[in-house]
């Protein structure tokens, strides 16, 4: 045990004391943050205010149509198509909609918008929505429904409140947040496994490349060397991770200061399909009185459970995969290219897990999600998606315990196999090794 500690300590110190460590740990999240900020800024901000003139010859709008965000509608009168076209060329406005006097409110005629520049999809949607809203209102009013009746129809609150069988309220905000939390934790574990797994692999190759493997192995058992490397590099990862979280949290607090309008602007915009539900959740939040609802929902989400499980699955997943990465590293000679082909069977389950996870965040109880959360090679990522929905809505207690048990068996198993491959691999030079050969080492008596 002592020897494992000695090796782990050397691995840890030799990485942490390098200048590049501080550089990547602190600079990287900063860079990502800046990158993200720029993306959000540019996607949210459209170029200039779009000025659309509406020539209302049929006089349906009563001179008014609500401007929305960065589109300014201006109702004009007594213009002809020709005069509008001239004005358009003169850039008095960016586009116009001509409602002819013969326009039938209840009919199926479509309106045309003529512009002097290209108008993007998102903006088109906004224009469409503005017109839909106002035309619908006008149509209803023309059917002799009073404004008061119209208001009551539009704003009555018939929202369905979701609740689960044990009485806990399961509203959309919670669903939305579960979605985000599950997605993010799953993704985080995915990234961690990849980054630190390859770090372990390269660390293992260090002994072979420096040709010091035999010297070390004459002092410690190969198993101790392997575990020392996995532990030491894992500790580096942990420290980096903690620093990153601290930085990300710190920056998140800064975000609203830099972009006060951002949240407001984000509501109308489908930024990515995956974010849709999250956006709807945010909208709902605003509609229902914001902060209180948020706090309420947050209370419903068992963060201790999620964080506890995250730590468990993060550790378990790391131990399971890092030993496999170590086995590959030991079989490879100086040429890292060889590693690529050997790595394939290891990276596939990880990617597969992410795919299952994207389904599991929406349907935590589907067959695929259940399987993915139990199978040790995929459970670290998939289970996080289910856990975010809470027990027992997302996953039952026994399923969780079973999954944890299987993961423990999993990493014990992979460590055992990896140790056997490792002990033969690090002393072997020259031959190009395949998985078939590695398997032979694994099953051979030591």
């Amino acid at each position: 045990m002592n020897k494992i500690f000695l090796v782990a300590r050397r691995e840890f110190l030799s990485r942490v004391q390098k200048k590049t460590f501080l550089l990547t740990t602190i600079l990287l999240p900063l860079l990502i943050f800046v990158f993200y900020a720029m993306i959000i800024y540019f996607s949210v901000k459209t170029n200039d205010n779009l000025r659309i003139a509406v020539a209302d010859e049929a006089n349906i709008l009563n001179g008014k149509i609500n401007s929305k965000d960065d589109i300014a509608f201006e109702v004009v009168k007594n213009e002809t198509v020709t005069s509008l076209n001239t004005a358009l060329e003169q850039k008095k406005f960016d586009g116009y909609i001509y409602i002819p006097s013969t326009y039938n409110l209840m009919g199926k005629d479509s309106l045309q918008l003529k512009s002097n520049k290209a108008i993007g999809i998102i903006t088109r949607e906004k224009i469409q929505k503005s017109f839909d809203d106002v035309l619908e209102e006008k149509r209803l009013l023309s059917l002799n429904i009073s404004k008061a009746q119209l208001d009551s129809v539009q704003h009555s609150n018939n929202r369905i409140k979701f609740a689960t069988i044990n009485g806990k309220s399961d509203d959309n905000t919670k669903a939305g947040i579960s979605y985000i939390v599950g997605y993010i934790s799953g993704f985080l574990i995915y990234i961690i496994l990849f980054i630190y797994g390859t770090m372990v692999m390269r660390g293992v190759m260090e002994e072979k490349m420096n040709r010091i493997a035999e010297v070390i192995v004459s002092s410690v058992k190969p198993f101790q060397l392997m575990m020392g490397k996995i532990t030491g590099i894992g500790a580096v990862g942990l420290i980096q991770f903690i620093i990153w979280i601290v930085i990300v949290f710190g920056l998140q607090l800064l975000l609203p200061l830099i972009f006060p309008d951002m949240l407001h602007q984000m509501q109308g915009q489908p930024i990515q399909p995956a974010g849709m539900q999250a956006m709807q959740a945010a909208q709902q939040m605003k509609a229902n009185g914001g902060m209180n609802e948020l706090m309420n929902s947050l209370h419903q989400i068992n963060f201790t459970l999620i964080i506890g499980c995250f730590i468990f699955y993060f550790l378990g997943g790391y131990l399971l995969y890092s030993s496999l990465f170590a086995a590959v590293g030991s079989a490879v000679n100086e040429d890292p290219q060889d590693a690529q082909s050997l790595l394939l069977p290891i990276t596939m389950p990880i990617i597969f897990a992410i795919v299952i996870m994207t389904k599991a965040v929406n349907e935590p109880n589907s067959g695929l999600a259940v399987f993915g959360s139990l199978f040790p090679l995929t459970s670290p990522i998939v289970m996080m998606a289910r856990i975010a929905h809470g027990i027992p809505e997302g996953v039952t207690l026994w399923e969780l315990l079973l999954s944890m048990g299987l993961l423990i068996c999993g990493f014990l198993g992979t460590t055992w196999v990896a140790a056997k491959i490792y002990r033969t691999g690090i002393l072997m030079y020259g031959k190009k090794i395949t998985w078939k050969e590695m398997w032979k080492w694994a099953v051979r008596k030591s």
Binding site: N210, I212, E214, V215, S218
Partner: protein, 312 residues
Amino acid sequence: MNNILELQHLKKYYATQKAVDDISFNISKGSIFGLLGPNGAGKTTLLRMITGIFYPDSGEIILDGKKFDPINDIIKIGYMPEERGLYKKMKIGEQALYLAQLKGLSKKDALEKIKFWFKRLEMESWWNKKVEDLSKGMSQKLQFVTTVLHEPKLIILDEPFSGLDPVNANLIKDEIYGLAQRGSTVIFSTHRMEQVEEICDHIVLMNLGKKILDGTVTDVKQQFKENKFSIKLQQQPANKINESFELIDQKENAFTVKIKDGYRSNDVLQFFIQQNITVESFNEILPSLNDIFIQLVEGTKSVSRAFQQVPA
């Protein structure tokens, strides 16, 4: 118990070959022992079993009177393998300390010993240098230091002089003598027979996993001597033929003769003295270990790994 190491019927078979095929020999304390053999003979496998890296399929290893314990006996052994290297990016002092601690030394002891050896081999100024900044000879010296630092009773050196210039080679050689004098036993594995002759007391020659020679250097040479002698005379003798010897070679006044069975060196000397010729020098030509090695190993089945099927 005067033997530091006793190997009894060691066997290690792989699927494709018998790397070590029933080897037994003893090594006495304080001696400098040579383990010789062509490439693929099984030397490295044997050494790895002695150091606990591999486990024998059968047979016993007795270290200093007790059964070899791969976990606890590590500190008694120092091993410098043929495939050797150091962490390039690590500083020297730090690395020596790390390796010593892995052997089981405490930090305090280790630092003391490192300072001692660095001073002795004039390496003090290198403490903070990285290994990659050293020349080859310097890193070899460092490697040697890390091997003997913990004062092991048994030191195993596989091709220790490869890559060393004559000055450094001499330095290491002196250190080896010194270590032996202070009670450590040294096992040498090498191809360089002239060094073996110079340094080793006792040798074992391996080929194809089997032991084919075992004895002191002198004994082995005696075993293979061909009764050849060299004589230097002051002038050309009138008579060069005699029943007591066979003339093998002649260079001016230096003769190489082979004394025939039944005759002694005195007979040859008498023959020339009776001719009133002054004998300037007369000594036996013992075969070099190099010649013996070649004689024994040449012509045996392939020099590189022999692929024999192990009977089921």
